[in-house]
Symmetry: C2
Subunit: 355 residues, 2 copies
């Protein structure tokens, strides 16, 4: 047998980084060296991967010596700087930033939709999709394969951890401050007044007892970057460049788990029974749909799970060939760390088979 | 001038009842007697209407003697019993329950959409629509009048106070219990475990750090009563019996303010500028749409307001003649108390003009 491949986690110190380390530890036997890389600020820190305590290395060209596959989880502009450095050394990079996702020479891979694309990486780079898109794809890919997806209208309910540690800590701090104050949000007792300006970061407004219909930056014509990602990344991953998408992205006071209401229209008629059959057999999908027994997907039940949950499936009353449903995915798992791990697994098997 | 009309608030003790009393106090000069009526359990209680302290009377046929207009805010089955008793005595009843809303002989009146229907009340009963529907109608009515509404796909973000005092208290109790516990909802620290079974009421699951995609009771084919109300009541109020509606209703951990993501398609092309022009001039609508300055509707800013807020208006990228937008309405104000007050105002003016 050939040597085991070496893997790096770049951006190992964040919320997603800690899940990356846990997931790599679970498949530790598949890898030779596991290397942790982060900004110079975190260099020297000791972090665990299963039983091993590893020293974080400062990012540099040399830090990638001997690495075969690197998971990148860095801000867009930092990925733009360092991904090419690693790729130039022959490392296969799986990048979680938005920077390369729409690059025609970079595949955007989701195992359940387009696993074959992982081999088609002229730049040595594979992109990992946005967390909201990733929660949708396993269900959509399965339904599309069977019924032909034509259009979808999507509304999201996104968790604070989508903004990382800073988002989670802001939500907990706000909840702690308002806890026990009755009548908040009613006319005489104002959430903004209680929380003050200090809690406008990082969501642009308080999130406790609120929902904030703005995620990411502002783009042309009133769209947010997050809404355009859902549209453009879904089209690319599903291989449907003309897919019609309406997307509105909203932050909600949830810790972990991005939920979405989906109204989807297909080429062919779809009954609930047919959708159940297809989704029950679909990879990466947990069918959670038994209303009479109060069984439907919710973020508190999705946290930590690898699959995406789908339920509340109904045949549209007024739209032909259409379904309504509700999907939830752990934004730190399938929405970030797990999808990157699954893509690395495709690449690892390919490289091992070639060796 | 003729005598002033007498008004009753039936169900005066709840969350909505307290807002009814405040709103009636604000227009106290329009009315002769104001009478508070509730179940026998609350009879004898003293409640204020502005400066007046009034004794709550137990509901009975005699309790309606001399009353011209009565606002009912009672559970469906209690309204079904008592509304006809009041109507038989010549009282014009404005009923907030769901019981009469779809009765073809009962108009479902929203001032901004169909004020003339208030006169067409063969049973002496006018119904007040569901809180979720009411948040939508002012914007939809204005856009429909100008561009012809053909279809809509709606996802809701509904506040705990939609379940009244019980809902609000449950949310506050849950928030108090979880406040200060970091990492909740992440894999190792489970919201369900911390809150336990006791917090499944009244939403069917914990609401803190969660969203619950089930509001109301289960109906055929996986729909909830709330989702069917949004469809059927919107059709009736807008006078569009063939309007295509897709609705999914979701409870979120917000105290007050029902938000909704709307994808709407019209007969004619609609630009954002045209939508702004129409909505800025529309009754009952606050146009809150200046993304660059972080101005968009949110529940914490809607609490206590009479208007419904609309913003995040975008022309659909892939659907002709379509808009995406976000609406928020205080579910206790326009969503309940205020709409009933506005309908009573139409009836009062009609009766005074006849006198």
């Amino acid at each position: 047998m050939a040597r085991k491949l070496n893997v790096a986690i770049v951006g190992a110190t964040g919320v997603v980084g800690s899940i990356m380390r846990r997931l790599i530890a679970e498949e530790r036997g598949n890898w030779g060296e596991v290397r942790l890389i982060a900004s110079a600020r975190s260099a020297g820190k000791i972090l665990s991967v299963g039983d091993e305590n590893l020293e974080v290395q400062a990012i540099s060209a040399e830090a990638f010596d001997g690495i075969d596959i690197a998971h990148f989880d860095l801000p867009d502009e930092v990925s733009a700087e360092w991904v090419p450095v690693a790729a130039a050394k022959g490392v296969v990079v799986i990048d979680k930033s938005a920077h390369y996702r729409m690059d025609p020479d970079v595949p955007l891979v989701v195992r359940e939709a387009n696993p074959g694309e992982a081999r088609n990486r002229p730049k040595g780079i594979i992109a990992n999709a946005n967390c909201t898109t990733l929660a949708l794809i396993p269900s959509l890919a399965a339904l599309n394969a069977e019924f032909g997806l034509v259009s979808m209208s999507v509304a999201s309910y996104q968790a604070a951890s989508g903004s990382g540690k800073e988002g989670l800590e802001a939500l907990y701090a706000q909840l702690q401050k308002i806890a026990g104050i009755d009548g908040l949000g009613t006319a005489g007792n104002d959430v903004r007044m209680v929380l003050g300006e200090e809690f406008n970061a990082p969501f642009g407004a308080p999130l406790a007892l609120n929902v904030v219909p703005k995620i990411g930056g502002w783009k042309d014509d009133g769209w947010t970057s997050e809404e355009l990602k859902v549209r453009n990344e879904s089209r690319k991953i599903l291989g449907l460049p003309d897919l019609k998408v309406a997307s509105t992205c909203v932050r909600v006071p949830v810790a972990v788990g991005h939920s979405q209401v989906v109204h989807a229209t297909f080429e062919r008629e779809v009954t609930v029974a047919e959708a159940h059959r297809v989704l029950a057999a679909a990879e990466g999908v947990d069918l959670v749909d038994d209303p009479a027994n109060m069984v439907f997907p919710m973020p508190i039940d999705s946290a930590g799970k690898g699959g995406t949950q789908v339920g509340r499936i109904r045949q549209s009353l007024d739209f032909p060939n259409s379904l309504e449903f509700f999907v939830v995915g752990d934004n730190l798992m399938k929405g970030a760390a797990l999808n990157s791990i699954e893509t690395a697994d495709l690449v690892r098997r390919e490289l091992e088979a070639e060796a």
